[in-house]
Structures are given as structure tokens and as C-alpha cells.
């Protein structure tokens, strides 16, 4: 009996000694800043930064292997805080939000066939590019909705995706998910948008959608030089520049929309002029 107790106790002691030594020998230096940075990060673990989770990004920032503003969700505020922890200067730009550059919904855009299948834009896109006559437009099946970790996208009853700017963190997940490549990240302060992505020539675009950009260039002429540029029959906003709101009135198709002060899309994604 006693022998057994002593043997077991002895084994236990030997084992713990081994552990104690191992802990010394294999100890990993953890940077105390890692924890602080992790604290500062939003903790959404959304992966938008490209790393598996917030703690991994924190570690990389502390090691100097990632930038202090690599968390798109935290944005400016978090970047500033991390800059403080790391003892570096931060003077960043402004918050980006996503926008769907299409206003062709079930009422104003033509369909080329009746889609009956999986409720997913990528699936529909694999079939003749989806049911919309316009091959560039929003399919309205909400693959972006599923991809957004922050519930910032809705499919409107008229069949088009809309981004709720206040909830959007600019993480860009939707940009990646959309098979039509029509979601763009733009500075949150910009209010004027050309809600079309069609590179079809004017006449063809007009046939397929009542609110399509027909490439007439009226807006280009009305806007400051370089603020709106033509790209293959499509007028594209240069978001680096300020554009006066009244430029929107020039558009004969009603494709250009100006959002209200909260930058919510209440009046957007609507019909023609």
C-alpha cells in the first residue's frame, strides 16, 4: 500500500518537474501590446482584414507585420487607438461605405427569361448571366446580403439590393461576393452617385432598362473637369472630387441620384426622373 502511494507521488512529482522545465525552456514571449490591440479591435472576428480573427490581426500589428489601419470594420477610430498603443502617428483619410451601382429594379428593367432556381446571384449568373436583360445589373437575389457580417444590406421589395450606409463598415465582403461586380466602396461623405454599371451603347442600354446610363455625357460636361469620366459608354464618378448636387438634374435618364444627409438610400434605387 505505502509503496504504491510513494510510487504514485514520486511519478507525480517527476511529471510536474518536467512540465515546469518545459514551461521555462519553451516559453513564448507575448507582446503585452497584442492584448491591448485586441481589446481595441471590434471583436467581430469577421475576417475582413484577411486574417482568421481579431486576435491574429492584433498579433500581426504588434509584430509590425500588419498596418494599424488594417481593420476595415474599426475604421478611423480604432486605427487611432491602435496608433496610440503602438506609439505611432496616425492621420488617416475617411470612412468608406459600400454602394450598389445599379438602379434597375423589377419595374424599370427588362427581364430576358423567367428564373426558377436557387435563390442566389452566383447561381443565377451561371445561367446566361441571370434573368436581367442588362448583363451588368443587380440580380436581386441577395448573395451580398448573406455575405455581409453586419446586416447592412437589404433586398428591396422591387428586387434590388440596397445598402444601409449607417450599418456598413466598409469591410468589402459584399464587393467580393457580388458576381456582377457592381458594389463599390466609396467615401461616406460623397452624396452624388451614378447608379448604373452598364457598358452597353446608349440605344441598347435604354432598351433594357429605363434608368440606364446612355452615355450622353451631359453630366460630364456639367461637372467640374475630371469629376465624371466616361468609361466605355458609362459615366463614372471620380470620388476623389466634389461634385455639385445640381449635376444630377442634367441626367435625362434619372440615373444620377443624390442621397439625403444621413447618406441613407431612401430615395435611391428608385424609378426614372
Amino acid at each position: 500500500m505505502l509503496a504504491a502511494v510513494i510510487t504514485l507521488a514520486g511519478l507525480g512529482f517527476l511529471g510536474s518537474l518536467g512540465l515546469a522545465i518545459a514551461a521555462r525552456v519553451f516559453a513564448v514571449e507575448t507582446d503585452p501590446r497584442t492584448e491591448e490591440i485586441e481589446e481595441a479591435l471590434p471583436g467581430a472576428n469577421c475576417g475582413a482584414c484577411g486574417y482568421p480573427g481579431c486576435s491574429e490581426l492584433a498579433k500581426r500589428i504588434a509584430e509590425g507585420k500588419a498596418c494599424i489601419d488594417d481593420c476595415p470594420v474599426g475604421g478611423q477610430a480604432v486605427a487611432k487607438e491602435i496608433a496610440g498603443i503602438m506609439g505611432v502617428d496616425f492621420s488617416g483619410g475617411e470612412r468608406d461605405v459600400a454602394i450598389v451601382l445599379c438602379a434597375g429594379n423589377n419595374e424599370n428593367a427588362l427581364k430576358k427569361y423567367h428564373y426558377n432556381g436557387v435563390y442566389d446571384c452566383v447561381s443565377a449568373d451561371m445561367f446566361y448571366g441571370g434573368d436581367k436583360a442588362c448583363s451588368y445589373g443587380c440580380l436581386g437575389l441577395g448573395t451580398c446580403v448573406g455575405a455581409c457580417p453586419f446586416g447592412a444590406i437589404e433586398i428591396m421589395p422591387e428586387g434590388i439590393a440596397k445598402i444601409i450606409s449607417d450599418k456598413c463598415t466598409g469591410c468589402g465582403k459584399c464587393v467580393e461576393a457580388c458576381p456582377k461586380d457592381i458594389i463599390k466602396l466609396v467615401p461616406a461623405s460623397r452624396k452624388l452617385h451614378i447608379l448604373c454599371s452598364s457598358h452597353d451603347k446608349g440605344a441598347a442600354a435604354k432598351k433594357k432598362c429605363e434608368v440606364a446610363c446612355i452615355g450622353c455625357q451631359k453630366c460630364v460636361k456639367a461637372a467640374p473637369e475630371g469629376a465624371i469620366e466616361m468609361d466605355d459608354f458609362l459615366a463614372v464618378v471620380n470620388y476623389a472630387m466634389e461634385i455639385p448636387e445640381n449635376v444630377a438634374d442634367e441626367c435625362p435618364m434619372g440615373t444620377i441620384k443624390v442621397y439625403d444627409s444621413e447618406n441613407s438610400l431612401k430615395q435611391a434605387a428608385g424609378g426614372g426622373s
Binding site: K112, N116, V122, Y128
Partner: protein
């Protein structure tokens, strides 16, 4: 004796609509829409421009790599335009619109009868490749690639696929009745190319006349054997066919050559015969035009590039309540939104259905009835895979072997919840391919 395989279904076949119709030659239409890429694998590269004059059989697109084939002009004429057109495979595809000059004049060197008895395996592969021959059962995989197995994968059996298990279609059936000798000659070339002398002609029992015809023709020829297969869908799918004939299984992710077999559709054999013997590239094929939505169900010999509109007109037009036009059969075919689609090398049939015959998908939840598991010929769990796909959990669809799915549609056919199962699987496969490309 042929074996069965696990699973499968017994759909309504409706073969009688067209199987008794001899193949009619479709007259030269006013325009042809010829897609520049007509094979699975690497797309071909266009070599003509708007305004060019072309001769019949002239190359209008070159092979874009090894797993690729050239495309030839189906007649002589002028290229009116080049642009995107709806294609039977479900995409908008770049094509040349050719206006025939009516002369139908062959390019230099084409259409010359020659002796094929002396061709070496390499010559055969080259001929088949240069003639743009692809799998004509619908898969359009370049035939010369199938004829070039690596040395460590010896092939000991050539199976001629005349199963034609898709409902409605009869193009292979007609070809076997009308061009049996040519098919066997084409098959002999394939056998020589891969050095096998065991050739099995596999035909489902619902084509007794074709079985008899082939039996008579092969009588006394030791290398050939005719197998009458049970009537079950998808008997004609490569893996199921190989199992039925040889009892060998193609491993997961593998090819028929991994089971020592080569499968060639009977139409492909015929195309190879014409390429070798007559020096004619692949510019026409037999198309079954059938279903309750067409006035005169027919089998026609149409040039590649003939629009569905011209074909429908040629077959008497649509009936009043035609609701759906499918390229291929109703199980694996692809619904068309426009009759401007044109015949491609893989277009085995055009099926036109009335509204009450068209199944609607409903995206209902899976009720876990298990029917799909009972019919899946690949032994998959379509229920689980579709649920993962719905939740965008594509890694799990891969773990559940979605890549093995042959997209036969048996599961969707029996699903009481009318779930668009195959579409889920196509989507999952596309995602998995995309991811594996990204990670290298």
C-alpha cells in the same frame, strides 16, 4: 452479362416521338451562328475577322492548347459579324455570324476520300484533333485527349456508348440504325489509336433494332461484342457504363482511363470516321427535335451553327402552348431563353415542352425523406450537400464529395420538395474550383 449500378431512376422516356423518324438533311439556312469555342477545356482562339470570306471546312478558330480543338466553317460564305450570342450551354458566347454564299464550296484538301488502313496511332490522334472532333454525347471533351492516356494508365477496353439513356433523345439511336458500319469503322480507328482489341457496343434494351443491327454487323468479328443494357437512367453516364460493362469502378476524382477503359459516344465514332476517311472536319451533326411542343418531331442532320429558330421552322413550328425549349434531354439539358441559340457540337437534341410538362423548382426546405440518397448513382448524399450549399458552407460540400456529382439530375427528379438540387451542386463546384485556383 451486364451488371446494374446502384441507384438510378425510371423517368417517362417518350422516345417513340422521334425514334422512328429517319434522319433528314436540313437545307442550308440563311445564316449560321458558329461559336468560337465548342469544347470543354481550353477555349479556342478565333482566327477570322468580320468581312472575311471563308470556305467550307476552313478553320475559323484554332485550338487554344492541348485540351482544345479547332472550329471550322460549316459552309462557304462571308462573316457578317462577330459578337456575343446566347449559346445552348447556358452562356452568352462569342460567335461568328456566317452568311452562306450558296456554293457550299470545300476548302483546299477537304472532302477527299482516302485509305485509312495504314494510319498510325499518332496520325489518328492528329486527324481527330485537326478535324475538331469532340465528345458528341454532349460533354464536348476533345477526343484526341481521351486517345492520349499516360503510359502508366493502360486501357484494355473500348466502350461505344449507344446507351442514350436521356429521355426523348433518339439521335444516337438513328445514327446506329443508319450509319452502323461507319460507326464501327470509326471505333476501329480509336481502338488502333490506343492499341486495344476489345470493343463493346453498349446499347440500352429499349433499342432492340439497333442492338440487332449491331449484332449482325459484328457477327464473326472477334474484337467486337454487343451488350444489351438494362433500361435505367443514367445508364449512359461514363462511370455507370464502365461499371455495367466491366464491373470496374472509376475512383473518386478519376477518369475512365483510371479504370482501364475508354468510352466514346457513337456519334463521336461517326465523326472520326468522316474525318479520317473523307477528310471532313466536324461541321454537322444529328439533332433530335422532339417533345409535345414541336409539330413534327424529327431527327435532322444540321450544320453546326444552325439556329434553333430555323430548326423549329423546319420541323413545322411550335405547338400553341410550348412553354420551354431545352438543349439536350430533359434530365441534363439546359433550358434556352432564346431561339437564337444555335447548334453546337454537343447539341444532341432540342426538346420542346408544354407548360403542364415543365417542372417548377420551389426552393422548399429538405424534408429528409431520403429519396435522393436512394437514387443517386454516385452514392452521394444530395440532401446534406444541398443543405450545406444553401448555407454557403462549401468546404463541407467538398467533404461530402460534391465534386463526384455527375449532375444527372436523378435526385432532383425524385425530390418531393422540388429542390433545385443540381443547381446547388453546380454552384458549389464552381466555388470549390474558384477557391482551389486561388490557393494554387
Amino acid at each position: 452479362m451486364a451488371k446494374g449500378f446502384f441507384g438510378g431512376i425510371h423517368p417517362d422516356y417518350h422516345k417513340e416521338l422521334a425514334s422512328g423518324e429517319p434522319v433528314k438533311v436540313m437545307p442550308l439556312p440563311e445564316q449560321l451562328i458558329v461559336y468560337f469555342s465548342q469544347n470543354l477545356g481550353v477555349p479556342s482562339k478565333p482566327v477570322v475577322e468580320k468581312g472575311d470570306e471563308v470556305k467550307k471546312g476552313q478553320v475559323i478558330a484554332e485550338a487554344g492548347g492541348f485540351v482544345s480543338t479547332p472550329v471550322h466553317s460549316p459552309t462557304s460564305g462571308k462573316i457578317k459579324s462577330i459578337g456575343l450570342h446566347p449559346s445552348p450551354v447556358g452562356t452568352e458566347m462569342e460567335a461568328a455570324v456566317i452568311i452562306p454564299d450558296g456554293e457550299d464550296e470545300w476548302a483546299e484538301g477537304c472532302d477527299k476520300e482516302r485509305d485509312i488502313s495504314g494510319f498510325t496511332p499518332d496520325e489518328i490522334k492528329n486527324i481527330v484533333n485537326n478535324a475538331g472532333v469532340v465528345g458528341m454525347g454532349g460533354a464536348t471533351f476533345p477526343t484526341h485527349v481521351k486517345l492520349s492516356p499516360p503510359e502508366d494508365k493502360p486501357i484494355d477496353i473500348l466502350i461505344l456508348n449507344g446507351a442514350e439513356c436521356e429521355p426523348y433523345l433518339a439521335s444516337d439511336h438513328r445514327l446506329m440504325l443508319e450509319k452502323a458500319e461507319e460507326i464501327l469503322e470509326g471505333a476501329s480507328l480509336f481502338a488502333r489509336a490506343i492499341n486495344v482489341d476489345n470493343i463493346v457496343v453498349a446499347i440500352e434494351k429499349n433499342k432492340p433494332d439497333a442492338i440487332e443491327k449491331m449484332k449482325n454487323l459484328t457477327a464473326g468479328r472477334d474484337r467486337f461484342r454487343v451488350e444489351a443494357l438494362g433500361v435505367i437512367y443514367p445508364q449512359g453516364a461514363e462511370k455507370q457504363l464502365i461499371y455495367a460493362i466491366t464491373g470496374r469502378k472509376v475512383p473518386t476524382g478519376g477518369l475512365p482511363m483510371d479504370a482501364g477503359a475508354l468510352v466514346q459516344n457513337v456519334g463521336t465514332c461517326f465523326a472520326a470516321f468522316e474525318a479520317a476517311r473523307l477528310n471532313r472536319p466536324l461541321i454537322r451533326r444529328v439533332v433530335t427535335v422532339t417533345g409535345s411542343g414541336i409539330k413534327n418531331p424529327s431527327n435532322i442532320l444540321a450544320r453546326i451553327g444552325t439556329t434553333f429558330r430555323d430548326i423549329v421552322d423546319f420541323c413545322g413550328g411550335m405547338t400553341d402552348d410550348t412553354a420551354k425549349v431545352i438543349s439536350g434531354g430533359p434530365m441534363m439539358g439546359i433550358a434556352q431563353y432564346s431561339l437564337d441559340s444555335a447548334v453546337g457540337k454537343g447539341t444532341s437534341g432540342i426538346v420542346l415542352l408544354k407548360a403542364d410538362e415543365v417542372a417548377q423548382f420551389e426552393n422548399n426546405p429538405c424534408i429528409r425523406c431520403g429519396r435522393c440518397l436512394a437514387v443517386c448513382p454516385m452514392n452521394l448524399d444530395p440532401s446534406a450537400i444541398s443543405i450545406f450549399a444553401e448555407r454557403m458552407r462549401y468546404d463541407e460540400t467538398e467533404e461530402y464529395c460534391v465534386m463526384d456529382c455527375i449532375e444527372c439530375g436523378s435526385c432532383a427528379y425524385v425530390c418531393p420538395s422540388k429542390r433545385p438540387l443540381v443547381q446547388h451542386f453546380k454552384r458549389a463546384k464552381a466555388e470549390i474550383r474558384k477557391r482551389s485556383k486561388k490557393t494554387g
